[in-house]
Symmetry: D2
Subunit: 311 residues, 4 copies
């Protein structure tokens, strides 16, 4: 079970499909093995980049069961954000029964705006999934338009013992991360884990600001694992060197829309999944974009070779 | 099966719950009978005001089956708007199998904005539900932020023979309604039915602008039926007199948030449902609001009595 | 100078233009006289419906000077909302120098969202206009997307002695109005005046919920004055009767876009201004809409005649 | 005068203030000289990152006159986006009289959404500033929520001979840039210049997709100049090497909010301006952020030294 001491990399897993749009079970297994091989601490499935809203309930339940089973001891967090609490509860209970470590919740767009509304939303969500289910608050205003002040996050954490983690992906977010950590340091707020998202493009400094790790889906999770490890070990320059080598590609993959096509394309190239198909609506990878990604991959490989040659 | 000659009142049905939040089957039947007694042409279920997002898939399927069965010859349109096409397809196929007359579709918030994106969205939705399923385009920017120009509506209608109706609830919408009808009159666009929403608060003039009827859930659907009938019969003043008598209450019921509580409260008072419970998140009716509704109901009854006394 | 005991009707004044778009000074004077004749307590100029953003700074200053001069003892509130504080300060100082009673401020769209950000915005605005200038907080989320919780309003009122009034036009807003008044009654918040907007379409109940009056621009301000007076006198039924007689037209005039054309058209018919011209961008009144307004005016006149005949 | 053959780097200039918030004339001159020394083709002043909304009209006119005078033969584009057309016209005419090369226009938030509305907006803007004034269409949905389809851009360009440039900063934007260039190549649309923004973080590929240069304000405009030059010369790898060396800092500077503080801080360090003060509302640079910027600057300098040592 997930708790507030969690750290490391919980990779945001893709959801693999066959070219015809059916869920691809073989790739799901393969993907788990790939992520495990990258050294991740756990998986987060059915997130925004997991194409969660494109699955119907039965599919979501089936997919989460399969992944959880394959993961074995590797903890799995299941995204259960939904337009309503019945669907959220159905998925959350099913996931926990199947052995999930916890769930992740973000409010839907358009319904909550003030601090009080945000706090009330999470109270109802906790009532829906059950107070015994560890949950992650996802703070992602770019996706849902919900702007959570540090004081609102504090109130949610204080109100619910089952809140064990903040997925921090407001942007810009460095000062907010520092503000939340300061509330914890001052004793105004219980300490919970903070993992960061947004494709990882600020992970270098987020680790220095107090993050416990990353929860994002960049197609080189091994790099995320190394950056988190290096930063924890105090090897700042090495962490930045590694990070900077990837930044051009990370930025390219972080584009909303085509970004997921880039990620799945690379994961396929790396053998993690058998098809890079997405369900509709999807932004396909144009031939130009594919060539740009190839160019970035070549440059990354060359830099890697150079680094090893010099090392 | 719904077709482009549809007209009259398709009442937006509420979804009745027990006080503890379970679906209330007995009230569902009772409600169908009540609406039938009001003289409506058909029902539209699982719309925005039908608390559709609060049901999980199984519940939505079960509820739609029950209502369709009870309705018998009375046509039922099922709202199938969903964050993804798999869930949309699942619900649409199930509803059609159960005997629905058609489905209603609105794009989700945040994903489509330009004319081209709107047109592409409906192409994918039609592919998902099947080209054999008659569908209603719901134009409701206040709810989803998607602003459909008349030219975009034209393209959707022209692209899909299965598009048979526009649910018009942009606000303000009188000039848009006229613009769409003009495109039809000029032959630029196939004629489809247009029913109007927004709680009915512009139904008086919408009928004069070319609407074929109403698709809204005001707690006095019998009044909507009469206004539509009077306007079609050319009895303009009588239509407005009746409409104006209800406007103060209609406005009160059209408030987002508390509006649904008002509607369910009145439907309960009228015996249409046994409980006015909503699932969370819900805005309850405060004692003050309840008293205001009572006051408006009394005034409505007095006006009604006066009208009959004078008539 | 405006203070927290203000009440009555501060009519949101239009800005009269010549047909060619120049400011119409003669109509500005005429309009002041008309409003005075309607019995209003004061004027609010350069609000959203005063086409304020369409004037350049020099014009805004000139117009406010002229209106203030013509008003004499009639207090004038000047809308000074602006994308930046320099422009806000320039207009506010100029207006106060010319004899304005106070200013009205709403945050611009897109910049502030959380409670803390809203409170901080008003702190900076007060610093810009000066702590000696009485100001009205305009709460109008439909126009600017800024959702102010009652607790945020409380903090603004408590932080600034110069805050003397809330212009309440959140929608729906009855429960919020009650919540704010309750904070005042409980001593959690200093009492300030509350006037309500939104075209007046909930003025009947807003007065019963604790509003001190109206700040809106409906083309029959005389009716607003009477409703406020009747409600204060405890003549509830009479207030509602009068209100209901106007509601069909009020609703028609409250449409965003064409609403201002309706308002100026009626004000011209009533002799308050010489031209109903708006500056671009403007939604003109279509011939159909003009006919609909005529129809509503005729019905209003007939009802009025009937009321007098029976009275 | 700006025309459709423009290319190179038009740097988005900051607006320098004294620590007390007054416009800093000496720094304005100094900044012009600095930018000239960086090899830029021209300046764009009073853009979003030029704190334009924080100046009142008189200040905006004064500042643009001073900069234009100092620039001499260096062309200056003046941002004239405004909530209304009177203010836009006032600033545009004044700027052109002072010798500006053209103006830049983006629609305000919240008023235009459909393709037709966007096209109509620019028609009114052109009428306001005059058909003799060369203008840049700024496509920046992240800032104003206005999503311009390539087809809408095409209609604007075709309708107005005075439209000479697109400032492309939709994000993600690579495919859109390609789509717009394809319309030009196919003859569906007159060729206009395309410069790209967004802090430059995709400039590497934007140049390969057909951009003519950059219009952004990254604090190392000399790098932007070099990347544009290298890409035009076909030196792709060299362009990417240079670009990648800066990407970590560019990303840091592109953060909305603190980004401008970073930019002004570095410009001050580089001697371009005497104070990094911003007018309120402003996000200051925290000590932590300042240290992070220092770290990035050191790394940049080291990489630079290494590159020279190896070269």
């Amino acid at each position: 079970m997930l708790d507030a001491t969690a750290s490391g990399v919980y990779v945001i897993a893709v959801t693999p499909f066959h070219d015809d749009g059916r869920l691809d079970d073989a790739s799901a297994d393969r993907m788990v093995d790939f992520y495990r091989g990258c050294g991740v601490t756990g998986l987060t499935i059915l997130g925004v980049m997991g194409e969660a809203p494109k699955l119907d309930t039965e599919e979501a339940i089936g997919f989460s069961r399969r992944v959880i089973a394959r993961c074995g001891a590797l903890p799995v967090i299941v995204g259960v954000s939904a337009p309503g609490f019945a669907a959220m509860r159905t998925l959350a209970r099913s996931a926990m029964d199947a052995g999930a470590a916890g769930v992740m919740i973000a409010p839907p767009p358009g319904t909550v705006r003030t601090d009080d509304q945000i706090v009330a939303y999470f109270a109802q969500a906790v009532e829906a999934v059950g107070t015994d289910v560890p949950f992650v608050v996802q703070d992602y205003p770019q996706a849902n338009g919900v702007m959570m002040a540090p004081s609102a996050i504090r109130r949610i954490v204080e109100a619910h013992a089952s809140c064990v983690m903040l997925k921090h992906e407001d942007w810009p977010g460095l000062e907010k991360l520092t503000a939340v950590r300061r509330l914890m340091a001052e004793g105004a707020m219980r300490r919970v884990a903070i993992l960061t998202g947004n494709g990882g493009v600020f992970l270098d400094f987020e680790m220095e600001r107090g993050a416990d790790g990353a929860m994002t889906g960049y197609a080189f999770p091994d790099m995320l694992v190394d950056v988190v490890r290096l930063q924890k070990a105090g090897e700042r320059d090495a962490a930045h060197d590694l990070f900077d080598a990837h930044l051009s590609l990370m930025r390219y993959e972080q584009q909303p829309g085509p970004g997921l096509a880039v990620r799945k394309h690379i994961l396929k190239l790396r053998g993690a999944i058998l098809s890079d198909a997405q369900r509709k609506p999807a932004t396909p990878l144009s031939p130009l974009a594919r060539a740009e990604v190839s160019y970035l991959l070549v440059r990354l490989a060359e830099r890697d070779a150079r680094a090893k040659g010099l090392g």
